[in-house]
Amino acid sequence: MTQPQDLIICEYCDTVYQRAPLLKHQRALCQRCGGVLYRHTSLTIEQRLALSVTGGILLVFANAYPVMTIGMQGLTHSATLWDAVQILSHGSITFIALVMALSIIFAPVLQIALLCWVLSFALAGQRAPGFALCMRGLESLRPWSMLEVCLLGAMVAVIKLAGLLDVIPGIGLLALAALSMLIIHIAGKDIRDLWVQV
C-alpha cells in the first residue's frame, strides 16, 4: 500500500500519479492536461529561512523609505507605499484602498512573518505552534500578494511623470524590486514540501 504522501493528484484534472524524485531544474507535468504537478525544490530550510529574514529587512526598507520623489520649480514631494494606499482612502473609493493595502503591504508582511515563524521552528526539526494554520494562510495569501505588479506600476508612473517633472527613484523602489522577486522565489507552491520535511 502506498502512503498518501507518495501520491500526487493533478489540481487541474484530478489524475493520480506516484511521486518520483526530480533532478535540479526539473518539474513534473501532468500527462493528461499538461499542468505542473510539482517542481524540484532547490532551497533547503536554512536557505529559505535566510532569504525570509532578508525579505523582512527589505520589507522594512520598502515601507519606510519613499518609492519616489518628484521635484518641480524647487518644490519636492515624495511618496511611500503607505501614502499610495492613503490617497485612495479618501471619499467614496475607500474600498479600493483596502484591496491596495492588502496586496502591497499586508499580504507580503504576513507572508514573510509566517515564513520566518514556520521556518525557524522547522530549522530545529519542530512544527511551529499553529503550523497547519500558518501553512494554510500562506496558501491563501499567495494570489493576493501583488508586489511585482506594484513594481511595474511604479515604473510606469516614473515614465508618466518624467515628461512633466523631475522624478528621482528612492530606496523604497530598489527594495520593492528586490522584495517582489524574492517573494516569488520563497513563497511559491513548493513550501508544501514542509509538510513532509517536519
Binding site: 493528484i9 499610495a84 496558501e139 494570489p143 501583488m146
Partner: protein, 209 residues
C-alpha cells in the same frame, strides 16, 4: 491514449490547503494533515463563477466611462479615463508604455471575460471539446489575473506623488474603484471555478450516470 487513474474513481481527493491526497472514504471530509475542509469538486463552481463574472462585466462599464484621475496643473483642471490615459501616451509617442497600459487595462480583462465565459459555458454543456487546451486556458487566466491591478497601482502612486500645493495636484476618482472591483471579481470568478470539471464529462463518457 490511456491515462493514469482518476482520483475520483479511486476514492481520493486533493486537499487544496496542503496538496495531500486524501481518502474520501474516511468519515469526515476534512484533511487529516492540515485540517482544511475537502470537497470532491468546489461547491457551486459554475453558479459562483458566472455570478462573479457577470458582476465584473457590469462594473467594467463604469470603470471605462468614469474618470480615474483628476489632474490640476497650474490652475487648469482635467479629468482622465483609462482609455484617455492610453491615448495620451500614444500621441506623445510613447507607444511602448501605451501598449503596456493597454494590455493591462483592456487586453487582460477582455481575455479574462472571454476565457472564463468560454470555460463556464463549455463545462455547463458537458463539452468534451479540446479539454487539454481549455485546461491550459484556465492556467493562463490564473497567471495573468492580477496584472490588471497595474492601473490601480499607477493611479495610486501618481496621485500620492503629485501633491505640490499651488503647482499641481492629482487626485484619484471613482472610476478606479470600479476598475479595482473588476479585477477582484474576475479573480474571485477564476478561483471559484473548478478546472477539474473540464475533464469530468470526458471521464463520464460511456459510463452510466
Amino acid at each position: 491514449m490511456n491515462y493514469p487513474a482518476n482520483a475520483d474513481q479511486l476514492g481520493l481527493c486533493l486537499c487544496h490547503g496542503c496538496g495531500q491526497a486524501c481518502d474520501l472514504s474516511s468519515s469526515a471530509h476534512i484533511c487529516t494533515r492540515c485540517g482544511a475542509a475537502i470537497h470532491r469538486r468546489k461547491a457551486n463552481a459554475i453558479a459562483r463563477g458566472w455570478a462573479f463574472l457577470l458582476a465584473a462585466l457590469v462594473f467594467y462599464i463604469p470603470a471605462n466611462l468614469l474618470p480615474v484621475m483628476h489632474t490640476e496643473m497650474l490652475g487648469s483642471g482635467s479629468e482622465s479615463t483609462i482609455g484617455g490615459g492610453v491615448l495620451e501616451f500614444w500621441e506623445a509617442g510613447a507607444w511602448d508604455i501605451a501598449l503596456i497600459i493597454f494590455i493591462a487595462s483592456v487586453g487582460v480583462p477582455a481575455i479574462k471575460f472571454f476565457s472564463l465565459g468560454l470555460l463556464l459555458f463549455t463545462v455547463q454543456h458537458r463539452s468534451t471539446w479540446a479539454c487539454r487546451q481549455r485546461s491550459q486556458l484556465y492556467r493562463l487566466v490564473e497567471l495573468i489575473g492580477y496584472w490588471s491591478m497595474l492601473d490601480v497601482m499607477v493611479v495610486a502612486l501618481v496621485a500620492a506623488l503629485v501633491q505640490l500645493r499651488g503647482l499641481g495636484t492629482i487626485e484619484p476618482r471613482v472610476g478606479i474603484l470600479f476598475f479595482g472591483l473588476v479585477v477582484v471579481l474576475t479573480m474571485l470568478s477564476a478561483m471559484s471555478f473548478d478546472p477539474r470539471l473540464i475533464w469530468d464529462s470526458h471521464a463520464n463518457e460511456g459510463r452510466p450516470h
